[in-house]
């Protein structure tokens, strides 16, 4: 039995690494620019927003929900941060206040989602789709429909563009790691720690695996679900701030369509949309793959970034179909086993 578990574990990792390798080698051959250091740094920077959002949405997905509002929440957070910071002329303090306001707003939205989904028993995708519409309106209300620029060189700029590690390679090319990558890594580590080392993480998995059973061991489903949705929205806010910082302005269209990309990342990362199953490493793997595909689309001339949407749909469908097929096959095996057990019990009687 132990070997079985071990092999299935290595199986997942072997599968992931294999896919990444295949994609990279294939791209490296067809597009020499792909495997340059500069481009790899570029990819990592590119996925930092997806990665943060994927880690956050993982919490919502683990309890069996979904958060389709993250794209709009990201836009909202950028807008709030800029508008608040503008009051104080983008001084460091006011920037921090703006950032804090944005994140608090995101968390409140998450709690509101949790209330509607758990207390009123409305399906999560409807709630988050509807609120994303409301949020879109709210952004326009706040910003008046135009983009909000921030002062270059202020703290807002730092969120994404500050250079943390910078040195010149022997080939003479610069190697830079920016703040956004650092935030992503720190956030991912925190999420991993929370999910795997705290009682809160245990409760999240328990609710997603079997809500009734979770209630019977004294878990407050409402409170913990709200927290999960709040983390999802909060992560979307952080992603939105990075996005705002790197594009150098806040606008209502920023982050549009990110919910689809993040969802794809999670599905590709092997996260069970029914809840209870999935890891941070899976989410990051998914974000990595999505980032690479997005990168490919921008690198290769004949492909347009817009094609991404096409691939997005195709990949989600294919991965889901494969996983459903695998699951039914294993369930069939389990069914056979259950039958054997039932027969053994019949013999006992």
């Amino acid at each position: 039995m132990k070997e079985k578990i071990l092999s299935s574990l290595t199986g997942v990792w072997a599968f992931r690494v294999l896919i990444l390798l295949i994609v990279c080698v294939f791209m490296g051959i067809s597009e020499p620019r792909f495997l340059t250091i500069g481009n790899i740094v570029n990819i990592i920077s590119y996925i930092s927003v997806y990665g943060i959002m994927a880690c956050g949405m993982l919490f919502a997905v683990l309890i069996g929900g979904l958060d389709l509002s993250i794209g709009r929440v990201a836009a909202l957070s950028g807008t709030i941060a800029c508008i608040v910071a503008r009051v104080g002329g983008f001084s460091a303090t006011w920037c921090l206040i703006g950032i804090a306001c944005a994140i608090v707003a995101g968390i409140l939205i998450g709690y509101f989602h949790g209330f509607l989904i758990v207390k009123l028993a409305i399906p999560s995708f409807v709630v988050t789709l509807a609120t994303s519409y409301v949020i879109y309106g709210a952004i326009t209300l706040l910003s008046g429909g135009s983009r909000v620029d921030f002062v270059r060189g202020s703290l807002m700029d730092t969120i994404s563009n500050a250079r943390i590690v910078e040195f010149t390679l022997s080939s003479g090319k610069p190697f830079v790691i920016q703040m956004n990558v650092v935030i992503f890594i720190v956030f991912a580590v925190i999420c991993w720690y929370v999910l795997s080392k705290t009682t809160f993480g245990r409760r999240i998995y328990a609710i997603g695996g079997n809500t009734t059973a979770a209630q019977f061991v004294g878990i407050n489903v409402f409170r913990n679900s709200c927290a999960a949705y709040a983390i999802s929205s909060g992560a979307a806010c952080i992603g939105g701030l990075i996005l705002m910082s790197s594009t150098s302005y806040a606008a209502q269209t920023l982050g549009a369509g990110y919910e689809g990309m993040v969802l794809m990342a999670l599905i590709v990362g092997g996260i069970n949309l029914a809840g209870g199953k999935g890891t941070i490493s899976g989410a990051i793997f998914g974000a990595l793959l999505v980032g690479i595909i997005a990168n490919i689309c921008t690198l290769v001339d004949f492909l347009n970034l817009e094609y991404l949407k096409f691939f997005q749909g195709l990949i989600i469908l294919i991965v889901c179909i494969i996983s459903v097929i695998l699951e039914t096959r294993s369930r069939r095996g389990k069914g056979r086993k259950a039958k054997q057990i039932a027969e053994m019990q019949a013999q006992d009687e």
């Binding site: 509607l116 409807v126 509807a130």
Partner: protein, 337 residues
């Protein structure tokens, strides 16, 4: 034993009331709200949304959801413009547009019933796919950037022209007629009854010998075909097919269905619900814009409406369940005494 109100019929009455109230309000506040021009514009917009919503209502009554309708409108619209470019007449394009939309729906139905993916994931993903397909087929210049491309076929363009000198478009007429036909289909044929049955209780329906997979596939085909039809009319009116076609339409269509009284989860509501919901949303949009309200207010109201409507359903179900239990207890007591 009198027929009791369920949440769907109550909501239908609320929507009718709201439509009347809005008409009264807007016509009082604005002299040209009831003008021929405005009404024909209103009905054109309502029909665009309403056609999609009517098709979607079939899937939703059957307990499913179709998030790909926006994508179907986009892809079908662009494909239709290509079809007219190769020399097909507008009527040919109309038929082929319906077939294309239906084929997209068939794909959804196939994935849901044969490959056993959930409706939500399937149509979310296929929605991306169809939008992407629209981009793949979109007209581009030599540098690969998107460009506007006008429809040349006159018969095609005529589909988007007003029927009467003062306005009134074919799409509105088609919408009203199809909504009535769909109502008849849902209430008077086996297909409709079976759709209600699987939306209400899939397992029981299956036990009673209903071919659940077939009904589901037909629902998706209807949803796709109606979206395709809407796409043909809209491209004809706009004289071109842009890649933003159908953007967020799935959300508005769900909103129309839900506001009109189609219960999420299935079993209640019909094409008339979708009709009323679409009319109401279009009226709200029309009126608010007329009074200089910005689009964001409309968005916020639409988003809130969907939440209010569904919260109403879930709370209504809870309350009526409790009331029913109480009533039964009372009747049981009178029986025993």
């Amino acid at each position: 034993m009198k027929k009791k109100l369920n949440s769907s019929t109550i909501r239908r009455f609320i929507t009718i009331g709201l439509v009347i109230a809005l008409t009264a309000l807007f016509s009082l506040l604005s002299s040209n709200f009831l003008s021929m021009y405005n009404l024909s514009e209103l009905f054109r917009n309502a029909a665009y949304l309403g056609l999609i919503a009517c098709g979607l209502s079939v899937v939703m009554v059957g307990g499913g959801i179709d998030l790909s309708v926006g994508g179907i409108v986009c892809a079908t619209g662009i494909i239709c413009v290509h079809l007219s470019d190769i020399g097909l007449s507008g009527y040919m394009v109309l038929i082929l547009g319906i077939i294309t939309g239906g084929a997209f729906g068939l794909l959804n139905g196939f994935i849901v019933t044969k490959l056993k993916l959930t409706e939500f994931v399937t149509t979310l993903a296929s929605g991306f796919l169809f939008f992407g397909l629209g981009l793949v087929f979109a007209y581009r210049d030599d540098h690969g950037t998107l460009m506007a491309h006008s429809i040349k076929s006159n018969t095609y363009l005529s589909l988007g022209q007003p029927l009467l000198p003062g306005g009134f478009y074919l799409i509105s007429l088609v919408w009203v007629v199809l909504a009535i036909i769909l109502w008849v289909v849902m209430h008077k044929t086996e297909l409709g009854l079976y759709t209600f049955a699987i939306g209400s209780d899939e397992k029981s329906a299956r036990m009673s010998g209903v071919n659940v997979a077939k009904i589901k596939v037909i629902g998706f085909i209807m949803s796709g075909a109606f979206s395709g039809l809407a796409a043909v009319f809209v491209t004809a009116y706009e004289r071109t097919a842009s890649t933003s076609l159908g953007n967020m339409r799935e959300f508005l269509a769900i909103a129309a269905c839900v506001v009109g009284g189609v219960v999420l989860g299935g079993g209640k509501g019909d094409a008339v619900s979708a009709f009323l919901g679409a009319l109401f949303l279009a009226m709200l949009d029309n009126g608010l814009r007329k009074f200089g309200m910005d689009s964001y207010v409309v968005y916020m109201i639409q988003g809130s409406l969907i939440l209010v409507a569904i919260a109403f359903d879930s709370q209504f179900a809870k309350i009526s369940y409790r009331r029913r239990v109480k009533e039964q207890r009372l009747s049981a007591q009178t029986l025993t005494s």
